[in-house]
Symmetry: D2
Amino acid sequence: MGSTYGKIFNISTFGESHGKAIGVVIDGCPAGVEFNEEFIQAELDKRKPGQSRITTQRKEADSVDVLSGVFEGKTTGTPIALVINNQDQRSKDYGHIADKFRPSHADYTYAAKYGNRDYRGGGRSSARETAARVAAGAIAKTILRDMGIEIAAYVKQVGRLKLDKSYSELDLSTRYDNAVRCPDAAMAQEMFDYIDDTRKKGDSIGGVITCVASGVPVGWGEPVFDKLHAELGKAMLSINAVKGFEYGSGFDGVELYGSEHNDEFYTNEAGEVKTKTNHAGGILGGISSGEDIYFNVAFKPTATIMKDQDSVNAAGEAVTVSGKGRHDPCVLPRAVPIVEAMAALVLVDFYLRAKADK
Amino acid sequence: MGSTYGKIFNISTFGESHGKAIGVVIDGCPAGVEFNEEFIQAELDKRKPGQSRITTQRKEADSVDVLSGVFEGKTTGTPIALVINNQDQRSKDYGHIADKFRPSHADYTYAAKYGNRDYRGGGRSSARETAARVAAGAIAKTILRDMGIEIAAYVKQVGRLKLDKSYSELDLSTRYDNAVRCPDAAMAQEMFDYIDDTRKKGDSIGGVITCVASGVPVGWGEPVFDKLHAELGKAMLSINAVKGFEYGSGFDGVELYGSEHNDEFYTNEAGEVKTKTNHAGGILGGISSGEDIYFNVAFKPTATIMKDQDSVNAAGEAVTVSGKGRHDPCVLPRAVPIVEAMAALVLVDFYLRAKADK
Amino acid sequence: MGSTYGKIFNISTFGESHGKAIGVVIDGCPAGVEFNEEFIQAELDKRKPGQSRITTQRKEADSVDVLSGVFEGKTTGTPIALVINNQDQRSKDYGHIADKFRPSHADYTYAAKYGNRDYRGGGRSSARETAARVAAGAIAKTILRDMGIEIAAYVKQVGRLKLDKSYSELDLSTRYDNAVRCPDAAMAQEMFDYIDDTRKKGDSIGGVITCVASGVPVGWGEPVFDKLHAELGKAMLSINAVKGFEYGSGFDGVELYGSEHNDEFYTNEAGEVKTKTNHAGGILGGISSGEDIYFNVAFKPTATIMKDQDSVNAAGEAVTVSGKGRHDPCVLPRAVPIVEAMAALVLVDFYLRAKADK
Amino acid sequence: MGSTYGKIFNISTFGESHGKAIGVVIDGCPAGVEFNEEFIQAELDKRKPGQSRITTQRKEADSVDVLSGVFEGKTTGTPIALVINNQDQRSKDYGHIADKFRPSHADYTYAAKYGNRDYRGGGRSSARETAARVAAGAIAKTILRDMGIEIAAYVKQVGRLKLDKSYSELDLSTRYDNAVRCPDAAMAQEMFDYIDDTRKKGDSIGGVITCVASGVPVGWGEPVFDKLHAELGKAMLSINAVKGFEYGSGFDGVELYGSEHNDEFYTNEAGEVKTKTNHAGGILGGISSGEDIYFNVAFKPTATIMKDQDSVNAAGEAVTVSGKGRHDPCVLPRAVPIVEAMAALVLVDFYLRAKADK
C-alpha cells in the first residue's frame, strides 16, 4: 500500500532501484492533453544521475517508454503507463549490505515490516522511484502550463550556506543553468564547492529547496483535511530525505503579531482582489487565494556516506557498514525537479477536483 | 470534499461554527474497543473555549452525544456518530462581516470557490470543527493506549519565547497542569503573561507545538506516498492556522553532515534493535523504527484581532474590518489536544493498515 | 468499514435500528443547490413504515434534522449532516433473540465477524439504515431533476405475479398512487391481495423492482471497473434483501443472437444520435448513451416470518426462533424509493466525475 | 478514472487493444507470498485467443513480464507490475471503422465522453484489458489457495442451451477439459456445435457463467455499501459484455415464500454452524457465512458480428458497418478465467480488510 497518490489525477508508481524497471500508471488524466514525450524526457534529464561530479555517477539513460493512454499525440482519458527500464544495476555492489541495516536507511524498517526486502540499492525505498514521479509530473506540468501556471523550485540552502533573498528577487528561469540549481550564480558556485568538498570527505550534507507556483487561480484546495497546503506538505514529505515543510511565513511567522502577519485585501487596477502582503503563501483556509504559492522543503544529509559506521545485522549482531557504491553527497540538486513534479501533481489534482465545486 | 480522513479508521466531520451542531462519523473503528464516554468528554474539555482568560470567552459545554456504533459499552465495528450541539451561537456578532472579507481568514477563498458561504463565525472554516476531531481522536487514543502507546503534545514556543529543552528533559505528564500547556512551569508563566499582554493589546501571536509519540512499534507507515511522517504532516497542516511541520532533526538538521546526522544501530540488553541517536524522529523510510516519534508544528498568529484592518467587500470595494466577537489571542493552548488527536488518528490508521502487511 | 459510498458525492451513513438515531453525512455535494427540506421529508415518507397494512406497523415519524451544510436555503459545498431520531424502539421485542441466530438474517455473520453485535432489531444490518440513503438520495434527485433527469422505480413482480408490460407502456408518474407502488392499477390490486394474504399466513414473499432513468446525457460512467452499470449493480445489491441485478436485456438477452441484440444507430430529426432499439439499457461500454437507462432488481422474501424455525444460539445449541416483532411481509413497496435514491446517488456521482473528463 | 479496483489489494490496469502493451500494477499485495510466474502464465493461457475454432483467431502469446515487487521468489509487499506486450496488432483491420460507431460497442460513448478515442480494436474498451485482470487474479488465487479456498467458474448456458444441474452435481475440476469450459462433457459438445454454427453464420450468442467459491471462512465482506455480494456484482458487471448478476437463489428466489427460502442453522458434528439449505449463496447481510458462495453472470452476444449493420459516423451521417476483423462468436469460454480472476480479487481484498475487524 501507499504507492498511489491523487484523488482524480491518480498515479500509481512501481519499481525497485535494481529491478527490471520503474514506472507509473496515471488514471484520471483528462482527454485531449497534448502529449509531449520530449518534455517528459527533458524533465527526467533534470533529475537523472551523473549530470555533474556532485551527483551520483550511476549511469542511467532514464528514457521513458509510453505504453498506453496516448493516441495521435493526445491523451485519450484512459490510463497512461510510463516505464523506465533500469540499466546500470550493479547489484553486486550491494552484496555487502544484504544482511546489514545501513544507518538512517529504511533497511531495518522494511525488513521488520515485510519480513523480507529487496536489499539491492534500497529496493523500493530508493530515490530512484522518484523518476516515475517526475515523468507523471511532466504531464501535470503541461496541463498547468496551458492554464498559465508556472512552477519553479530552486536550492535555497545547502548546509549552512543560505541564500538570503526572497524568490521575488531572483530570476527563477535561470535555476537550471548550473549544477546546483540555485538561480543566484555566485551562491551557486559557493554551494557547488561546498558540496564537492563534502563529497571529497566522503560525507554528505542537507539543505532547503524553495518552490513557487505562480498563476494558480483562486479556489483550488479543499476545506478541513484536504487543504491545499496539507496535500502539498504530504507530497513534499513523501520525497526521500525530506524532514520538514513550511509555507508562506512558515516557522519564522510564529514570532509575528497578528497585526503584522495578516495580509490586508485591496482591489487592484484590473479589478482583482489582491493582498498587500503574502504571509499566507497564497493559501487561505486551505484554498488558493490567487497570490503566489510558495513553500520550503528541508532535506537531511544523504544517509549513504563513504565512512565506516556501526550497525547491526538481521541477527542483531554488531557489524560495521562500510561506504561503497555510488551516492549523491547532497540530494538537493537532483531533488529540484522532483519538488516541482510533486507540486504539479498536487495542483492538477485540485484543479480537477475544483470542477465539482458548484 | 475534503472533510474525510483515514483509509481504514475513516472519519468524516461536519458542522459549522454557528450551525446547529458539529460532529463526526467514524467508519472503520474495530469492534470490541471499550468505549469511554468520560474520556472523550475529558479530551473535549481540554480543547473547549473559556478555560482561562487567555482563551476565547465563547461559552460552549461541548458535550458529546453518541448516536451509534456502541453497544453494551463496546464498539460494534459499525459507524460511530458523535454529535456536539452548538449553544453559544451569537450569530449577530457576525452581521458586520457578512459582506466583508476578513484579512487572513478563509472568507474570500470560500466565497470564490463556492459562490456562497456561511459567514457566521467562519462557518466551516472555523476551528470549531476541530472539536469533532478531538472526539474521534479520543477513541483512537484509547486503542493506542491499550497497546502501550502514549501521545503527548505541549507548547514549546510562543512568539519569541522558546523553551530550549528537549522533550526528554520534561515531565510531559504535567503538560495540562497550566493554562498554556507547557510542561515547564516557569516558562508556562512567562508564556501566559506574554499571551495575556498580547490579548490586552487586541493582538494575537503564534507559536510552536512539539508532539511525542512513544511506544509505537516498528513497522507502521507505508512506503512512497503514504509515509508515516507524510501523513502526520498532512494531518498537522490540516489544523487551522498551521504553517509548518518538521519531524526529527527537521529544518535544523539540514546543516549537519551525514556522519553527524546518521543514527547508528545497536542491540540493547533486551535484544531489541535501537539507535544511538534519534535524528530520524522515530521514522525510517516512512516507517516507524520503534524509537520515539517526535515533531514540531508551527502556528501563525490568530487572524482575528481587535484592531481595524483594511479590506474589501464582496463587490471589491475598500472597507474597514473592525475587530469584534470573541477570539483566542494565541491558539496554541487549545491546539495541544488537537495535535494529539490528529496524531492518534494517523497512528491508529497505520496500525490497522499494517495488519495487511504480510 | 463499508458504510461510505461515492467518489465525489460521498455519503457516510450511520445508525442502528434501535439506537438513538440514524443519519448520513454527505461530503462533496456542490454548492448552490436549492435545499428543499420538504422534498427530503416527502421522499422519507414514501419509505417510512406503517403506510398500509402490508407494511410493518412500527411507528416512525422519520423526520429529518439538518445539522450542517446549508445556509440561507442553499448548499454551501461543505458536509451536509442529516439525522433521523429513532422513536419506536421497542428493544424488549428483541430480548428473545439476543442469543439466537435468526435464519437468513445477518445475526450469525455479524457475531462471527465482530465478536459482539447489537441484536436489537438487527442493529446495523436492519433496513432502517436505508432511510439515511433516501434522505441523501433526495438531494441527489434534486440535482438531477434540475438537469432534466427523472428516476422512476416500480414493483414489477411479487412472487409469481408479474407485470408483463414494458416500462414504456406504463404511466410511471402514478407509481406512488397505490400501496404496492405498481403503476398498473389492476395488477397493483392483485399484488396487494397477494401480499396481504402472505402476511395473514405469517409468511413473506419476494419480487422484482424495475427502475428507469430518463434524460441522462451521453458520457456518464467510467471505463473498466467503474462502469455505470457496475456501480448501479453494486448500489442495488447493497440494498437489504437484494439477490440480483440486470440491466437492459439482462438475463433474457443471453438467448438472442448478436444480429438481434445489437442496437443500430441512426440520427434523429433533431440531429441527435439515437439507437433503434435499446437492449443496451442506455449504457455502452459502461458509459451512458443518452437512451433510457433501465434495470431490474430482485428481492428475496423477507427473512423475518411469523413462524417457528430451527436454529442455533451463540453456544451452537439447537434452539427454536419464534416469529415476533413487526415486519414487512414483502419489502418491495417500501424498497421503491430506496432503489430510486441509490440510482440518484450513483448518477450524481458520475455527473460530478464526468466534469474532469476533458 | 475507473481503472483501479480494490481498497487494500489495489489493482490499476492499463493498455489498449492495439497499443504497445497492456498491464497491471498491484499495490497492496502482502509480502511473503510465493510468486509463481508459471501459474500466472497458465491462467493467461486459459484466457488467450486462438485456443480453438470457436474463439477469435487473433494470435497473442500473452506472455507476462514481471517488472517489480518480487525478490528471490516472493512478493516484497511493494507494487507488483505485470506487463503483457501486444504482438498481433493488425491496426489496419480497423481503418474502416475509424470514423464509424459500431452498434452496441463503446465507440460512440467514448467519442462523446472524451472527444477523441483510440479506434483500433476498441482501444481501452476492448476485452483485451481483461488479460491484465487475469494476471493479477492469479496472484489473488495463490493467496486464497494457500488458505484452502477454491474458485471455479464454468459455462452454464449458451443461448438457449442450459445445463440444468446444480454446481454440486458436477466435477468442477474438469471445467477446463473442453474448449467451451462446461464441466458436463455431453452438454459441452452441444454448446461447442451451437457456437460453431453461430460462428459460421457470422453471428454471435450470449450465455451464463456460474461461479463457486468454496472454503471462504465466515466474516468476509462489509456491512451496508461494501457487501460481499455487492462487490462481487460490481466486479462481474465490470467485465465486458456482462448484463446481469445474481447470487444464491437470485431472480428465481423471488417466487419463494420466506418459509421456503430461509436457511435454517444447525451445528454439524465438527461443531461448526452450518445451514441446512443455502439459498443465501453463502452470504448473510453482505458477509460470508462459511457456506459455498455461488453466483451467475449473464453475458450478452458479442457485439462484433460478420454482417452489415446500419449505423452513423462521427458526423452523424448514415453509414454501413461491415463485419471485418477477428472476433469471438461467444465470449463465454474465454470469460471463465476472467470471472474466476475477478472473484479472487474481490475475495482477497475482503480477506485483507477483515484483518482490521476487531
